[in-house]
Every structure is written in C-alpha cells, then in structure tokens.
Symmetry: C2
Subunit: 559 residues, 2 copies
C-alpha cells in the first residue's frame, strides 16, 4: 500500500470540524452519529471508500467522536448509529485497502478498530451512554460488526436491508472486529446458525434475523423512524436526567517531533533509539497542586494533569504502534513528585461517584491502560531515582512484561531514591480486559499477596520493600544497574519479534477470559494466521483477487 | 520432510511389545514410565532423536501407554514419568524434525501432543491415576511441558538439573504443548517471572525453580529416589485401594483399506470422495444386546460395542487428520438400532459409579468427543432414515458445525424415519473442553431450551420435533434433501480451508474458557501464526537455521 498522499505519519488527532466521514446531530439526551464516508477521502492512495466502507482514517474519526461524546457531551444518554447514505448502511472495511495493505498494517488496523468497538460497549456500561444501531440497507462485514458492538440493533424490514458476515466465503479471511466472538458470546447465536450465517454472502434479513438473534428487532419500514426515535429515548431515559452535566472541550494535543523521530508532548516524552529498537516513554508528574474543588477541576478541563497525561500517553502509544514498527521494546520511565501525582489522582477517586468528569477521567485511564496491555511490543518499566510510579502510573509498571528498579543511592544522582507508591486506584479502578486488576492477575497464585500490597497503600516502597512484595521483577544497585539493563535490552532486541508477540500475548492475560480477551487473544491470533496464508493474501488468494472477477484458488490442505 | 522409511501412512495403533521409546515398570499401585527414546527410531527420515527428543512416533507410543494405563491397569494410582537416560530428562520436540516438517504436520503434531498431555491431567482428575514427574538432567521445551502436564513435579537439586522453555529465544517459536498457558493458568507463575523464564535458554534450577512455582519441590540429589518413591506412594494412597480392579486388554483394532483410501472397521466405515474433498464416517449401532451383567461387560472387554466403537472412531479421526489433509469436510452418519445402542450406553451410565470399566468407557467417549470437537475440518451430521443418533452418538451430531435431518418418508426407503433420541448422557456425561455440555453450549442464549430437551429423554424425536427443539440445523423432505445436501457440500468445498479452520475454531467454543480451550484456541492460533512467519520458517528463520551455528535473521517489524 502506498503512503498516504502527503507522505505523512498517521495522525490520530482530529476534531469534528475536520471530519470527512461522520457527522453528529444532537437532540437533548440523544445523539445521532451518521456514517457518510467520503469515497475520495481514503487515508492512503489506491482505493475509493465506496458503499460506506472504511479505512483507518474513517475509524480515527469514529474513535474521536466516541471519545468526545464522553467528555464534551455528558448529557447524551443514547447514541444512534446510522448511515448517511441511501440503500447502504456500511460495507465494512475497504477490501482493496486490505488487499494492498502490509500484514503489520492490517493487524494494527484491526486492533485499533476493535478497541474503538469496545468503547461503544464501555460507554453504555460505564457512563450510561448507550449505542443503538439503526440499519437500513446492506450492513455487511465490518458494518455488521459496528452493529454488534452496539447495545441494541434495529433492522428495517423493507425486503432488502440485511446483515451479513461475508468475509469467510467472499474473502477467505475472518470478520476482523470481533464479529464471530460477539455472535457466540454477546448475542449467543446458536453455533450452527452462526456457522450458516457466516457463510451466506448476501446475509440474513427480516424476521429470520431476529429469530436467529442477529438483531434485537425487525421494524416495518414505515414505522422505522418512529421506532428508532422511541427506542433511543427509552435508552436515554434509563440513566435518568443527565442534563446537569456540562461538557469540557478536548482541546488539540500539542506535540513536537525531533529530527530523529522523538516526540515531545507537555507531559510525555518519547525518545527513540533505532539501533537498539527501543522507544523510551517518560511520563512527567504534575507541577501544579491537585484541583482545589470540583469547580476548579471543571475549569481546568483538558488541561488538568491526569487527563492531559492520559491523552498524551494514548497518542504516543498509537503513534508508536502505527508509525514506528521496528521499535520492538517500549520502556516506561517517570519523573516527578509522587505525592502531588497521587493528590491529583485521589481527588478524582474521591469524587468519581458524584462528579461525571472525575469519573470520566478515571475511565479514560482504564482504557489507556488497556491500550498499553494490548500493545504488541515488549514492555518494560524502569523505576529510577526521581520517578513517580504511584497509583495509576504504577499500573503502567504492572502492565509491563517485566520491571527493573534502582536499589538505593546512585553516585552523582541527588534525586529521591526509586520508590513505588500504591493507591486505591491499584485495587479496582482500572481493571484489565480479563476483569481482574493487574495486581490480581500478577498474584493469581498468591491472592494473599494482593492483600499484603493493599496494606501498604500510600507508603513509598523502595526497592527492598517493592521486591519483597513482588511488585517488581528485579532490583539492582548502582554497581549492577547499567549492565543489567543493557544486557536485557540487547537480548530482547535479538529475539524474533513474532515469538515475542505470541509469548507476550499469552502471558499477559492469565485468569478469567472475557469477550474482550477472546477477541484480542483468540480471534486476533486466528485472523493474523489467516492474514499470513497464501489462500488469503497470495497472488491467487481471495483477498488479492477480490474485484477481479476471479475467485481465489486455494491450497486445499486443512491445517 | 520426507515420508517415513516405509512410505506408509501414519498409524496410531501400537502396543507395549512394539514400543521403541518407552518402557513401563509396575509396582502395585505405582507405575513408572521411562522415556528412553531410540535416536534412530524416528517416524520420518532426516533426523535423529537425540537427547530424548521426540517426534510423533514417540508421542503415539506415549498416548498408547496412557490409554492402556486406564484400561489395562486400573490398579495404578500414581504414574511416575522419568527419563531412561543419564543426564537428560527430555530435550523436547525434535527441532530438525520441526524445521523440516510441513506446516500442516507441525500443527497436527502439536494438537495431538496437546491432547495426550491433557489426558495426563484427566487421568488424575477423573480416575485417580495421578502423574508425577521426576526430573534429573535437562528438561527443556516439550520436555518441561510434559512435566507441566503432570500433577506434581520433583526436580533434583544436583547443580545441573534444570527446567527450561527455550523455544522463543532459541527457535523463534512458542512452546507448542501448552507451556505458556500452564505456566500462568495452572501453576500460576507470576507473569513477569514467566516472561524471564521463557527467555532464558538454559532454564532455571534449584531453589529458584520452586520459588518461581516452576516445580513443586526441589529435592537434594541423595534423597531423590527415596522422595520420588514416597511421593508416588502418597499420591497412589489418595485414591484408596484400587487393587480390586482387574484390567481388560485393549486388543488390536482391525481395519482394512480400500484402493481409494476408504477404511472399514468392524463398526465404522470411512468413505472417501476426493473430488468433493469429503470423508463420510458411518457409525454402526450394536447387533448384540447390552451386557446382561457387569461380569458380562468385563468378559466382553474391548469387544463390547461402546468401547469398540469409540476406539475405531478415535482411530478414524486421527487417520483423517494426519493422512488425508485434503478432505476438508467430514460428514457423520449412523445406521442401526437406537434402542439397542441406548441400552448399551445406559448400562454404562447406570454402573459408572460402582464399576471402573463402565466409568472408563464413558470417560473415553468424553475424550473421543473432544477429539471430534477439536478436529479442524468442517463437521456435518446427516441424520438419515435408519440412523441411530441416540445419546453419545447424538453428541457427535451436536459436535458438528451443522446438521441436516431427513424429514418424513423417503421414496423407496423402508428404513425407520430419521430420529434423534436424547439420553442421560447428553446432559453431563461428556462435557466439552469449555466445561459445558454440547447442548449447554448450543443453547447459551436460551438455557431453557436445555431443560426442554431434557424433558424428551428417551423419545425418538423425528424431524419436526428435533427442529422445534433446536437440535438440528435444517430438516428437508424427500423432494429437497438431495439438492440441499449437494449444494451445501459443494459450497463448503469451495471455501478457503484456512478461513473455515479459523471460523470453526471461533464458533465451536462459546461460553466459559478453561485451560484446555485456551491452549487449543489461543495458544495454538498464535503458534500457527508464528509457524507460518519467515522469522521462524523462512530460509533465514531461526527454526531453519537451528544447528547450523547461525542465528536467525529477523524482520524486525512488530505485528
């Protein structure tokens, strides 16, 4: 696939005034999100986004819209997703884009779109902002997967509107954004019917779609608008009057790129060492004190430390995922005042029940931390002198594959000794995709260790205590630190990136499975496998041949 | 990889007198299983099985030994797995074999070895036949995964004995027989320590191996024999006196191959249609009545209908998996007297608490049905006139991706109308890998449908009733049957085998996850992906280069 027309890096920052593919209409507690893809607005050259099909650029706007609904429109209780075009709801991910894209881009694309679909469900469950999908016209593949991520699906009974997952029969790949998993796990479609449905190119329409549990209701065409509106009002009413909340504006994120590709944000720095295949993300603690009141927090808005840091970290992770494929190790560092950082965070934790903004900032941290968990790079935390791995920042260390901590004084370094400080937020505020906290997952074999850690809330735990409590992998003193870190980084960089991706994906999510872990762990792995097989992407593969009038030719051996 | 020296199909039938790689010593309730691989006894040309490394041939013997322990030695309460060689326990799967093997063989090999490892755990949990692993010497990769499948691991503390998972650093692949999953889920090793452990080529020994939960006990060298013996006696004693049970002999399975590759067993027929990519397995009901007494059952032994059918079906499935890669659809049919079949089965169900053989036959059915669930071919049941899909045979239909049933009379066919008969065995005797029955999995969205089905136990359910209860996907009458079946088979054969494999793997196991489903669903998918990537299997990949003195050269882009 060619670079995008401007030859630029992929940028995840956007805002409604710049949307090319979506528009939002607000009507009190109901927002309607129209998908109306500009077919000439593809992110890369070489394809047109016909029939409301999408590429990463379309999804970046969608992710932005979903995020802004949480922060800028807390009054909204129901979001209706619909098409801005006649006769087609959405044809799914653009197939020519997929056919031309590199394996890495396909996989990254699917992961990002999956994360966005998950935020639909999170918005309903966590913030009373439910998603409804109102389908008229063809709704196929990724289009139906958009619907599956909604809390309620209405399908017009007009003789032609249908839902379909035609990927396997048509393209020799799987539905890539959770379709199969949501069929069986969320909608609990009978498995043999799911098998039939997933092999019918033209999909299922009318009464059968409801009987098979593929949609929640099938609505006669003439009653469609009225029913959609009524259902949206019902969902919005479930959470009561939200009109008291006034949103805050998510102002643009400032960032500057250095010549070597390093990035500087206001609170986050990304340093790049290409020879070592290493990106170092340093997170900075707050300069200012915690907001003095809820009023002060709302006045600070997007400038408040905890939200600013989360947005910048999120952007940095996405940038590394898509634009820096050869940096296989991400190293997390922090610098700053842990006491102040915890004051900011604890203010949010204390007010999260009464104040929507405090709650939304914490819920956003939950999403960002999940994004870290799901980033397929080797993740390591270096807990150094002067660092502030406290509370949610400590969660980043727990999200890492391993962690190294400085032990004691380091010559010529007058910063405070390295310490980790636990807080209430480490015990349930930001659970992983598996539903457990990172400490619960870490101590699956010794649940009592979680309680031992909880008893230390608020205390700066230096290397010895942190090691004893099992919070870090290794602690080294001034004599060994540099060598040990160097050896680890050299060794990690020497391993096969694929083996590390597979190993980390298997080790990070012990314990219970959820729909999310199944989508990212199982479905994604199968999809990646299929994406690499000649039957899909070879010269005679179905994905390559799509649109040529020729069907794929397959190696018939079963694996 | 070249064919094996004789150019023959892979045969899963063997017996202790023919073992080349294992020997068993019995001492009352304790059996010791020595792994002593004949390095010149590889199944294929081109590699030597050095350092107690294994290939499929070694594992076929192991699977046979584990199976015979259940049926021929019910008196055994503890099985000690150890090496017959000095200084090495087991070096894992043979790397030259893996490097030379085709993708399909590697995947099939891993699946079969995984199934065998699972039977270790099943033997302990279900039959009080626990596995202990006594490690002296190097225990690496698949060797340590053998240990992980045991209920208790003892490691000699002799300064050199160590456990290791060196696959990722050394070979750029994952441990392929459940290693990563058992580390986190079974042994609950802390995830950062698991990460460290899985990247240390030389492994971990001594006290640290126990501290990291990698083994259960580390035993000083001089106390090793004594401790192993004591621990084996303890495990055996947990299940009380088993000496009352006298085993039955698992006599060789008779089968005949036709020129076209079809196979005839005493109760199972496999018909092959290469043009359609189709294998049809027909299962025959019993001629004889159910055993009149437990004594009669034990006298019949391996000849009794239910055990003979299970063994023949198991062999047929394995034959198709390994030797018939291009038959992408397996169609199950049955013929016979459902009442008689249920009489046999119900006899076993009634006696399963008091009689070990009744219990073992049913537990074997559980394993065979899981083998069907895990077979990566499209599975379809044709419930035809004269068929006997009753009880456990009906489970086969429920294991299929979809089922077609004949509705009513068929011209010129005087056999009994097609019917499904449910029995007690459909409601808990043979749960799937996810811990649910096939009907519970099927009706995840309508649990009341399971109860509705239970109310019909014992009644022959013809097409209308079976459809109403949701037990079959489609029912067609004489007019439509032939066309519908033909269209389905043609369509299925036209799809990409890889897409079907991925789709079926995702749709078959809805609901809860277990260690088994994670091994087969998640770990296997990642492993398959890695097995297809140039970083492992390309000319410069680590697996290809192993033993050449050169390390793999990697595409460093992360996916």
């Amino acid at each position: 696939m060619r670079r995008n027309p401007l030859g630029q890096r992929i940028d995840f920052g956007t805002q409604p005034s710049r949307y090319r593919h979506w528009r939002i209409v607000f009507d009190g507690p109901v927002a309607t999100l129209f998908m109306d893809v500009d077919e000439n607005g593809g992110l890369f050259d070489g394809y047109q986004l016909k029939l409301n099909s999408y590429d990463l650029g379309v999804d970046i706007e969608l992710a932005d819209a979903v995020q802004r609904l949480r922060f800028e429109h807390p009054e909204v209780g129901a979001v209706v997703l619909r098409s801005g075009k006649e006769r087609v709801f959405c044809a799914g991910a653009n197939i020519r884009m997929l056919g031309a894209a590199e394996h890495t881009h396909k996989v990254n694309f699917c992961k990002f779109t999956n994360e966005t679909r998950n935020t639909f469900e999170a918005a309903g469950a966590e913030s009373g902002q439910s998603y409804l999908c109102a389908i008229k016209g063809t709704c196929a593949g990724g289009g139906y997967e958009l619907a599956l991520a909604c809390d309620h699906i209405l399908l017009a009974d007009d003789g032609s509107s249908a839902v379909a997952l035609p990927e396997a029969p048509l393209l020799a790949v799987l539905p890539g954004t959770g379709g199969l998993t949501r069929l069986t796990d969320k909608r609990k479609v009978r498995r043999d019917l799911a098998d039939v449905f997933s092999t019918i190119e033209e999909g299922v329409k009318g009464r059968r779609a409801a009987e098979w549990r593929l949609v929640d209701e099938v609505v006669p065409n003439k009653a469609f608008e009225e029913t959609v509106a009524a259902r949206a009002r019902e969902f919005a009413a479930r959470v009561g009057d939200k009109t008291g909340g006034r949103g805050i504006e998510l102002t643009p994120i400032d960032r500057t790129f250095a010549a070597d590709g390093g990035v500087t944000y206001s609170l986050v720095e990304v340093a790049v060492d290409r020879a070592k295949g290493l990106a170092t993300i340093t997170l900075h603690g707050p300069d200012a004190d915690a907001p003095a009141s809820l009023e002060a927090l709302h006045t600070e808005g997007a400038r408040t430390w905890a939200l600013r840091l989360a947005r910048e970290l999120d952007d940095a992770i996405l940038h590394l995922r898509f634009n820096e494929l050869e940096l296989g190790v991400i190293c997390f560092k922090s610098q700053g005042d842990a006491v102040k950082a915890l004051a900011h965070e604890n203010f949010l934790v204390e007010h999260r029940v009464q104040d929507w903004l405090s709650r939304e900032i914490l819920l956003y941290w939950k999403r960002v931390l999940k994004r870290v968990d799901l980033t397929s790079r080797s993740l390591v935390a270096f807990v150094e002198t002067g660092s502030c791995f406290a509370g949610l920042l400590a969660e980043i260390a727990f999200a890492c594959d391993r962690s190294y901590m400085m032990n004691g004084a380091f010559e010529g370094d007058n910063r405070a000794p390295a310490a980790i400080t636990l807080a209430e937020s480490n015990f349930g505020v930001a659970p992983m995709s598996n539903g457990l906290t990172r400490l619960q997952t870490r101590f699956l074999g010794e649940p009592e260790a979680v309680e031992a850690a909880r008893a230390e809330i608020g205390k700066p735990l230096e290397a010895e205590a942190a090691s004893r409590l099992g919070l870090v992998t290794f602690a080294f003193d001034d004599i060994d630190w540099e060598d040990e870190v160097r050896i680890f980084l050299e060794e990690r960089a020497s391993f096969s990136p694929d083996a590390m991706t597979g190993m980390e994906a298997n080790l990070r999510f012990a314990g219970p499975e959820t729909m999310e872990t199944r989508i990212f762990g199982r479905l994604t792995a199968w999809q990646n496998w299929i994406f690499g097989r000649p039957n899909a992407v070879g010269e005679k593969g179905a994905l390559k041949r799509y649109g040529t009038g020729q069907r794929g030719e397959f190696d018939r051996r079963r694996v």
